[in-house]
């Protein structure tokens, strides 16, 4: 029996451990030397912006032009607004056309309204059931023209520096505002200008009810505090718009604006409140220094923290205004003829982007006035509903058109619109589905955690477990906590402010009762604000705790003090355990491994203390002495595999820097060393034991390469797979481990902070079900390359190389723990992912990597009636590869509802699918595969019947689901056809088990692309709705249903399956496309195994490549592309992804729906 709690029970809390002297390092460069203890260094950077943020830079450009006359506005204002994930059409329009002045609001509105008309007309068929379709057009004037109030506000506002995003779709906002202000007279009128012109953050005060007297004051502080959010953009704009400014010279320029040198860099943006030009420059460097988020270039990603602000800032900051072409999307363009595609998403965009009344809830309540706690909730709920109607004007019309629904918030109307699945066939949105936005007030929404990091299956949390049960949907979180971020505030502070009873980190959703006290949003305890926290390093002012970065960002990273250490932070330590048996030599991976490692040796995350070691094994274990001073590496062979010992303790794991030559030597000679090996046995178990012993003193990462079933020593396995059963429709055996040797070893490793990553490159059955345990419980990752061979399988080889490159260079965190806290009343039920659960809310992660995600099932233990918001906080404490102890905190805030219809309206169908997939995997291992499949089908049946009996009052026959869940049956059907869960189709056991492991660890977006790939038609892409990034045009073709009927022989179709793209070329595909894109004269001459798109100079090729690059852009692992010809045998791999079609063993979508209907009527 293993003790459930390891040697360190409650990591994040203070634990007194002897040691720690070594710690104090974090400070030197960044500790704000001048200003006493008030040291919150706060950096941001903005690398690798993803497509979802591409509207941001635009904000930037547009505003700066627009506001040029009004001077004094720091361009830094446009707020990131992470949740609005799609560029608002209006902005896009601006930038592209680059009218310098938006001469009059009038013209601007004109355009805008035109947009919405277009959208309106085109989206009707999609959005509204047939009857309502007609009136759509006549209605739109209502939406677009009430711009009058907006424009008047504009007039008034220009005095108050209306800068940031004037492009903010005023039309869309104006209309509802208008409605709303009439309906809600007194209190809201004050708010109205603030929101409607929200682009200008300066309006904050009005929102605040503080009146205009304080106006200036707020303006300034506001700008300052906001500017840090938008660093990335700031820098871009400084490079682009203000061309005269030298983009890279910033570090020095920044200095003069503030007293001390360090201060200047660190708090540079403080100085920018007044002068726009200065702000851009100063904030640039300030953004850079920590930039621990700029993961795509890992090399500078953390050394900046070591190197101090100035040097690194020039590289990450404004020096490279456009770090990556797509990142900084300068002008997303939605030309006039907006395709119907963007209906939902674009509508949603204004929400995030229309500006930032960036008041915290606490802030809204005003500093000292509210000592009682109750008003806060009122305020929330009120404001959330007030704001609600604004950004969705046309939806509001829809609701009117539907009749009798006008009282319901429009978002919900759309999400709740009953969809009869048997009748509606076009369910897919034109663009890949985005996470639904929780129904929160805009200011909460703005600070809420990014859905890429933290996502909940129900964006409206039901109040009670009874209500949750009634909804028949699982409640859970999908977390991607260590994701590569493009912007992350890093805070160095002597005291990390936490709730005294539940230890929650202070976050944007806490309530400030007054200047000195804050109320925890998880346990509702009232805490004191420590003195240090009163000082705001951003504005360098005292008494503004609500403006601290911790309270302005839902994702922050703290540099932890020695309280958070059990021992001095470990150095980065990497041990590579390589299979060199005959089988491995045959597969030929070793050469590629050595080459790639040699290339990436300097990019391994780490510092001067980084240690590496190598260990090879066949039927014996070979250690390599790489001690500095040796002329060449020494191999030490241990042949006693029953009792493995370490031949030499200090020379096997060596400092990479000191022994680099020897390491290089070894890597160069290693492939040749075993080329003659005839040994077929594999002693993986003993090799792992040796690795464990070798790494125990430090902890670190063990990377295991294995090419066959382990046959010797401890952990030897037998083949369990019966090839005749591969396509059995009955149960699948042997999904669980055959021995718990690997699991126990993994737990030992986890206890010693060793993470084991497994690369399995086996052509035969290798019992991944047993082997995977070594990674599962030590928080490692698993890679599997079936039928790997360096000559015969070039596709796998390429994938291996790409994965390995990413693997070597990606960020890593050591000796990590993650704790998930949630609002009182909620509790964690089950975790999914690779980790060891140390207590009910604490995961022990020996290693944490940016590519693995976690899922958490939640249950509601007590009624949440006493709160209108539910919050979740995930805190990941880890040691960075530079030996810093850091805490990354993510906080998600969601509304609590008591109506079933609201629960359905907020359901996130993708998250639900992923959570169900995780649960199904558990079920299939603990019970049986058929059980798991039945459970998935029942999930659909349950949902449909629950919706029918509880919510839908329409007496429709057929399968009716809320629109928010309309893709649920498709997704479940796709799940049932995945390798992990399918039956009847021949599936090798290892591949099935690997697919199951993937389900457990892949982040949601990646998983959804694997489950339900995106299909686009490429040969007739138009520029309609294309994005304009920098100087490239990225066309945005529509998503197609995954059915062969959507394919046509004269087309070329791209399927995006996450790790791989398939480009299917129809037999009659136009020769122009084949010639221009593939570089082949005609269809017949396309080579059968083509796996790249040649870089041709034709416009068509450029567009296709731009689109592919854009799809590729925000993925960690680069995807491969396969060209699939219609007649090739390879087309089976393409067609198996067409999940809506009938396959030999699985039903089509329509049959599936009929099956559901039968089940319901039982």
């Amino acid at each position: 029996m293993y003790p459930p709690t390891g040697c360190y029970g409650a990591p994040p809390q203070q634990q007194s451990y002897p040691t720690i002297p070594a710690h104090s390092t974090p400070a030197p460069h960044k500790a704000p030397i001048t200003n006493s203890a008030h040291s919150a260094n706060y950096y941001q950077s903005n690398h690798q912006q993803q497509q979802h943020h591409h509207q941001l830079p635009q904000h930037h450009v547009a505003p700066s032009q627009y506001s040029a006359p009004s001077s004094s506005v720091p361009p830094s204002q446009p707020h990131p607004t992470l949740h609005s994930s799609v560029p608002p059409p209006s902005n896009a329009q601006y930038n592209q056309q680059q009218h310098p002045p938006y001469a009059t609001p009038g013209s601007y509105y004109g355009q805008q309204s035109y947009h919405s008309q277009q959208q309106q007309q085109q989206q009707q068929p999609n959005l509204v059931p047939a009857p309502a379709g007609g009136p759509g057009a006549p209605l739109y004037p209502i939406v677009s023209y009430p711009s009058a109030p907006g424009s008047s506000q504009y007039g008034t506002l220009s005095s108050s520096q209306s800068t940031s995003a004037p492009g903010v779709p005023p039309t869309q906002m104006g209309a509802p505002l208008h409605q709303y202000s009439t309906s809600r007279p007194a209190p809201t009128t004050a708010v109205q200008p603030g929101y409607s012109v929200a682009p200008t953050s300066q309006l904050g005060p009005t929102v605040n009810g503080q009146g205009s007297t304080v106006h200036q004051h707020y303006d300034q502080s506001h700008q300052a505090s906001l500017s840090y959010d938008s660093y990335g953009r700031v820098t871009h704009s400084s490079g682009g718009a203000d061309a005269d400014r030298p983009p890279s010279g910033t570090p020095s320029t920044s200095v003069h604006s503030s007293p001390g040198h360090h201060q200047g860099v660190q708090y540079g943006y403080v100085a920018n409140s007044g002068a726009s030009s200065a702000s851009a420059t100063t904030s640039g460097p300030a953004a850079a220094p920590l930039s621990s988020s700029s993961e795509d270039d890992d090399d500078d990603e953390e050394e900046d923290e070591e190197a101090g602000g100035d040097t690194s800032s020039s590289s990450t900051g404004s020096a490279s205004p456009v770090p990556n072409s797509y990142d900084s999307l300068e002008g997303g363009n939605y030309p006039d003829s907006m395709p119907p595609s963007n209906d939902m998403t674009n509508q949603a965009a204004p929400y995030g982007s229309y500006g930032y009344p960036s008041m915290e809830p606490a802030y809204q309540q005003g500093p000292a006035s509210h000592t009682d706690s109750s008003p806060s909730h009122d305020l929330y709920s009120q404001s959330s509903y007030q704001q609600y109607s604004q950004p969705f004007p046309n939806l509001s019309q829809l609701s009117a058109a539907l009749g009798g629904l006008s009282g319901v918030p429009e978002l919900e109307v759309e999400a709740l619109r009953p969809v009869n699945l048997l009748q509606e066939r076009n369910l897919l949105p034109p663009r890949p589905l985005e996470a639904p936005e929780p129904n929160l007030s805009p200011d909460l929404k703005k600070v809420n955690c990014s859905p890429h990091t933290f996502r909940c299956t129900l964006t409206s949390i039901p109040q009670t477990q009874a209500l949750l049960n009634k909804a028949r949907l699982p409640l859970g979180l999908l977390l991607h906590p260590f994701r590569d971020l493009q912007q992350l505030p890093v805070i160095t502070s002597n005291t990390i402010v936490r709730c005294r009873s539940c230890r929650t980190y202070i976050n944007p959703f806490v309530t400030f009762l007054d200047q000195r006290r804050w109320k925890c949003n998880l346990c509702y305890r009232v805490n004191d604000v420590p003195d240090e926290f009163m000082y705001n390093p951003v504005t360098r002012s005292y008494g503004e705790p609500h403006k601290r970065p911790e309270v302005q960002n839902s994702t922050v990273e703290f540099i932890a003090s020695s309280d958070y250490m059990l021992r001095p932070p470990q150095p980065a330590a990497y041990l590579f355990v390589l299979d060199v048996s005959h089988n491995a030599v045959e597969a030929g991976y070793l050469k590629y491994f050595c080459e790639l490692l040699l290339d990436n040796l300097d990019k391994l995350p780490g510092d001067t203390r980084t240690r590496v070691g190598f260990l090879t094994f066949d039927n014996t274990i070979h250690f390599y002495n790489l001690q500095e001073g040796l002329s060449q590496p020494q191999m030490l062979v241990v042949s006693d595999i029953d009792d493995v010992f370490i031949p030499s303790h200090d020379s096997l794991m060596v400092n990479l820097k000191e022994s680099k030559e020897l390491v290089k030597d070894l890597l160069t000679s290693l492939p040749a060393m075993f080329s003659q090996s005839r040994e077929t046995h594999s002693a993986l178990g003993p090799a792992l034991q040796a690795a464990f012993k070798l790494m125990s003193p430090t902890g670190g990462r063990v990377t295991v390469f294995q090419t066959q079933l382990p046959t010797l020593g401890a952990g030897a396995l037998q083949s369990r797979e019966d090839p005749n059963q591969r396509s059995s429709t009955k149960g699948v055996q042997h999904l669980g481990p055959a021995t718990d040797f690997y699991k126990k070893l993994a737990l030992d490793c986890s206890g010693q902070q060793i993470g084991v990553d497994l690369f399995l490159l086996s052509s035969q059955y290798a019992d991944l079900a047993s082997l995977s345990c070594i990674s599962k419980y030590s928080a490692g990752s698993i890679f599997y390359y079936p039928s790997f061979h360096y000559i015969h399988n070039p596709a796998q080889l390429e994938k291996f190389q790409r994965d390995l490159e990413r693997y070597f260079t990606r960020k890593i965190g050591f000796e990590a723990v993650m704790r998930i806290r949630c609002t009182k009343g909620l509790s964690i039920h089950t975790f999914h992912g690779n980790f060891f659960v140390r207590s009910t809310d604490l995961l022990s992660l020996a290693n944490v990597n940016p590519d693995s995600a976690f899922a958490v099932q939640m249950s509601i233990e007590d009624s949440l009636a006493d709160s209108s918001l539910a919050c979740f906080q995930a805190a990941l404490l880890y040691t960075s590869s530079k030996g810093k102890r850091r805490i990354r905190v993510h906080t998600l805030c969601l509304p609590v509802v008591n109506q079933l219809s609201d629960v359905y309206a907020g359901a996130d169908v993708q998250a639900v699918t992923c959570l169900l997939a995780n649960m199904a995997i558990d079920r299939s291992i603990s019970s049986s595969l058929s059980d798991a499949r039945d459970a998935l089908v029942n999930a659909v049946v349950d949902l449909v019947s629950a919706y029918k009996s509880n919510v839908s009052n329409l007496q429709q026959s057929g399968l009716v689901v809320p629109a928010a869940m309309r893709l649920f049956p498709v997704y479940i059907l796709s799940l049932l056809k995945q390798k992990a869960l399918r039956t009847g189709t021949s599936t090798r056991l290892d591949e099935r088990v690997f697919a199951m492991c993937e389900f457990k660890t892949q982040p949601l977006q990646q998983l959804m692309r694997m489950v339900h790939p995106d299909l686009y038609r490429l040969d007739n892409m138009s520029d309609q709705g294309a994005l304009h990034l920098n100087d490239t045009v990225v066309p945005q073709p529509h998503l197609l249903h995954l059915s062969a009927e959507r394919l046509s022989r004269d087309g070329a179709f791209l399927m995006d399956c996450g790790y791989v793209f398939y480009l299917w070329i129809g037999k009659c595909c136009s020769e122009v496309f084949i010639r221009d894109v593939l570089g082949c004269p005609n269809y017949a001459s396309i080579p059968p195994n083509m796996s790249h798109i040649p870089e041709l100079e034709t416009p068509l090729s450029e567009r296709v490549r731009a689109f592919l690059d854009w799809l590729q852009d925000n993925r960690a692992f680069s995807s491969m592309i396969h060209i699939v010809k219609d007649d090739a045998s390879a087309k089976a791999t393409f067609f198996q992804h067409l999940v809506e079609d009938r396959s030999e063993s699985a039903s089509s979508y329509y049959e599936f729906l009929q099956h559901i209907q039968q089940q319901m009527s039982k």
């Binding site: 021995t739 718990d740 659960v837 140390r838 009910t840």
Partner: protein, 121 residues
Amino acid sequence: MAFTFAAFCYMLALLLTAALIFFAIWHLVLPEYLIHFFFCVMFFCAAEWLTLCLNLPLLAYHVWRYMSRPVMSCPGLYDPTTIMNADILAFCQKEGWCKLAFYLLSFFYYLYGMIYVLVSS
């Protein structure tokens, strides 16, 4: 009145049950199973059939539970990787409370049985 082997068994069971009550709460499963098995054997030897019958279901449950334990190669009963799942945790807790009740009742039953045997013999 004589201090028979049966009376000795009851007395022993009485003492050990007191220990079991704590084990049931603390989930010291192996000692608990062993002790329970031990005094079941004692009752068997003492030919206390009724008492043995009362204990047989629990004995059978223990055997079943141990045979179907998730851990395969060592004596433990709980799987450290899944024990923190709420449903398993809840089950184990419920199991603990049920056993606690059973041991409490049997404590008094053994007390009664011991006195009865002492008096009747």
